[in-house]
């Protein structure tokens, strides 16, 4: 049995629950032969991938749902072998080039040339072109993006690109100007509750409004997360009645306890204890950026309003340094130490009744 997220994923453009205007546009685009390159962007869990698959189905019919997974080997100019997993059907191919880090340009060049130079052989196919889906396009290196530029125009007859990204900031301007930009906003609370009720109806039970509200507020516009949480709740408490707390992912609760520990005591001793916990989080493959951001958010909730801006300032400062540095743990620790200092100073000042806050960071 599949998860609800997959089981109730809309399969065609008509089934989509929100952004009707967008669906109508995509539908009319698919109906004309002149289909442009598209760049889908929006926060995660907003439904970008769902929409992409719906568009493909609109273009080619049910054939696109027969997927197979291949492992392809690419060879870099320096003779290194790269293994890349690609998902493909007869009509499209989907890849995540950012998996191979700095060598993504090789993958882009090779696979696009290959697709672009072979014509569609299936005479029954509805379209003369194949579609290449590139996931996490904002994680592509500049070189890889530059390599896309020419290919996008040169092979327009045989191939269309669909890029999927969280933000357009990291996509270079020449690519942006060659694509139709499609923004997929996260669903509003009403739209989410409609989807939740729809799923509940399909599963033949009714969802109390209080439960729906708590799911929605905890998932912050991420519909995938909402549905996963919903299913987990249903497993735990089949009747969904009364006050139920939303099951948060383990790591979020864990970070919350770390934040509480930091708030309780600011000392070198405590820093050492916390370090062990941070290591544990990292060794469970929670991305360091997420750890730092979530920790900062929890801390901001706990501290006095006066030092909130400072906490954010240092979080932003160390987050950036972490991206540029190599060893992530240093910067998370540095943030925690800095936070302890800020908090302690504030408390001491409070004791001394010296309320002249030095807000010039």
């Amino acid at each position: 049995m599949s998860l609800w997220v997959d089981k109730y994923r809309p399969r065609s453009l008509d089934d989509l629950h929100y952004h009707e205007a967008l669906s109508a546009r995509l539908k009319s685009l698919a109906a004309t032969g002149d289909f442009p390159h598209i760049l889908f962007y929006g926060p995660s869990g907003a439904g970008k991938k769902t929409r992409i698959m719906c568009v493909l189905r609109e273009l080619y019919g049910v054939g696109v749902e027969k997927l197979r997974i291949d492992q392809r080997v690419f060879v870099t100019p320096s003779n290194r072998k790269l293994d890349v997993n690609v998902v493909q059907s007869n009509y499209h191919i989907e890849l995540t080039p950012s998996d191979v880090g700095n060598y993504d340009r090789v993958v882009i060049q090779d696979i696009l040339k290959e697709i672009a130079q072979t014509q569609q052989v299936d005479l029954n196919a509805k379209q003369r072109f194949k579609v290449v889906i590139i996931n996490e396009a904002d994680a592509l290196t500049r070189d890889a993006q530059a390599a896309l530029r020419r290919t996008m125009e040169k092979y327009m007859t045989n191939m269309r690109l669909i890029l999927c990204a969280n933000s357009t900031s990291k996509i270079i301007a020449p690519i942006r100007s060659r694509c139709l930009l499609v923004r997929v906003a996260a669903p509003t609370d009403d739209e989410m509750s409609r989807v939740l009720h729809h799923v509940a109806k399909k599963e033949r039970f009714s969802l109390p409004d209080t439960a729906a509200q708590s799911i929605i507020s905890s998932s912050e516009g991420n519909l995938r997360k909402a549905l996963l949480v919903f299913e987990a709740m249903k497993m735990q408490k089949p009747d969904l009645s009364g006050s139920i707390d939303v099951a948060k992912p383990d790591w979020e609760t864990y970070i919350a306890t770390v934040a509480a520990a930091i708030m309780k005591e600011q000392s070198a001793q405590r820093l050492l204890e916390v370090r062990g916990k941070i290591y544990e989080l990292l060794s469970h493959c929670i991305p360091p950026g997420v750890v730092l951001k979530t920790l900062a958010e929890r801390l901001v909730d706990l501290v006095d309003p006066e030092i909130k801006p400072q906490v954010i300032h240092w979080a932003a400062y160390y987050e950036l340094r972490m991206r540029m540095g190599a060893k992530k743990i240093f910067h998370i620790e540095a943030f925690i130490a800095k936070f302890m200092m800020v908090q302690k100073n504030y408390l001491l000042q409070g004791v001394a009744q010296n309320m002249e806050m030095d807000m010039d960071f």
């Binding site: 002149d34 896309l148 100007s177 930009l181 923004r183 906003a185 901001v300 932003a316 987050e319």
Partner: protein, 365 residues
């Protein structure tokens, strides 16, 4: 992209003109067609008449016609038949390290051009006895590759001319730049780009609401390629609708990824500023949570932080009612945030930090 143009000029697989991007379809055919850039065109006209060219370096912002000019010039010099054998065009999507300069460019540069036969379309072309190497996007070539060019440019100058095309002339190493005569391309004036885009709209039968063409030109900011792409994308969307409807301003905003004014206004209010009155103490008292909420909302709606920041800056800085010091502090905060975003910082966190700094600066004034 420009290789595409050179391909379509040469006999080869023909492309359905319906599927061709308009930027290619309406690329100027002769250098007289090039919009604006009178000075450059005048000099090149002279060069064309005397069939002698210097090495050239074209620089200027994107979409001002650099590649179009050199391609049109090459076509007028050599005609369609010789275009392929006499012109080598390389751009950033080709492998262009030092090995390519040493092998491909050098091999091409030292071939002596064959003698001229009559052109197949009956026209006579000047066909000067040299070849042309176009290095598009030359500012992305490595320093080493550029150094390797130096000697090649001189040794084979009898039979080969180089044309380097780039956005930033400072990225071209001095020894190469001093071997070329430089041409600067200015951003297009509104009037000439408007004439061009109206011509295309008419030729393609595009129907628009009033003022939409001006809006496109404004958003493109002197970049003609961007303007034409916007027009074509919008046309695709609207012609696909049943029945076809004229292009509206809203869809141009959506295509170009520009954030609507309401979103920017909400952010301005969160940091304690209104467009009418400048700093408003009542709004500043909104506190930390207001700012956090406003930034979270922007993230949730999927706007890209870079674009939001740019428009936020454009809305905030010209406000006359904000005193100089808070305004300067705000400008610093915006600049810091832009740098952080360029270096790959987390969008939400950095934008939040920037807004808090701006709010703090406003509270001061």
């Amino acid at each position: 992209m420009s290789t595409f143009a050179s391909r379509s000029a040469a006999p080869g697989p023909s492309v359905d003109p319906k599927l061709q991007p308009w930027v290619e379809k309406y690329r100027p055919k002769t250098i007289d067609d090039v919009s604006s850039q009178e000075n450059t065109v005048a000099v090149l006209q002279k060069a064309l008449a005397s069939t002698n060219l210097p090495h050239m370096l074209f620089y200027g912002p994107p979409g001002t016609g650099k590649t179009s000019t050199i391609l049109a010039l090459a076509r007028q010099l050599f005609g369609p038949d010789l275009f392929r054998s006499r012109v080598l065009e390389l751009n950033a999507s080709d492998e262009r390290g030092i090995s390519v300069v040493r092998e491909k460019i050098k091999t091409f540069a030292r071939e002596t051009p064959r003698n001229v036969k009559l052109s197949s379309d009956g026209k006579t072309y000047p066909c000067p006895p040299f070849k042309l190497i176009i290095l598009d996007e030359a500012d992305s070539m490595t320093q080493d590759a550029q150094s390797a060019l130096r000697r090649i440019m001189e040794t084979y100058s009898r039979i080969t001319r180089f044309c380097l095309v780039c956005n930033y002339v400072t990225r071209i190493i001095d020894p190469v730049a001093s071997r070329c005569s430089k041409f600067r391309f200015r951003p297009l004036a509104q009037s000439s780009s408007q004439a061009r885009i109206e011509m295309i709209a008419q030729a393609e039968g595009v129907k628009t609401d009033d003022g939409v063409l001006e809006l496109i030109l404004n958003l493109a900011g002197g970049d003609l390629r961007k303007a034409i792409t916007y027009l074509q994308t919008a046309q695709r969307l609207h012609a696909a609708a049943v029945p076809p409807e004229p292009i509206s301003a809203i869809s141009i905003h959506e295509i170009s990824g520009v954030v609507p004014d309401e979103v920017i206004d909400s952010l301005l209010n969160a940091v304690g500023v209104t467009r009418e009155d400048g700093i408003s103490p009542a709004l500043i008292r909104g506190g930390f949570e207001t700012v956090r909420k406003a930034v979270k909302k922007i993230g949730r709606e999927g706007w890209s932080a870079g674009q939001v920041l740019e428009q936020f800056h454009d809305a905030l800085i010209p406000l006359a009612t904000i005193p100089a010091i808070p305004k300067s502090l705000a400008a610093i905060a915006v600049a810091e945030c832009d740098k952080a975003l360029c270096e790959g910082g987390d969008e939400e966190l950095q934008l939040l930090e920037c807004c808090l700094q701006v709010r703090h600066a406003m509270a001061r004034g």
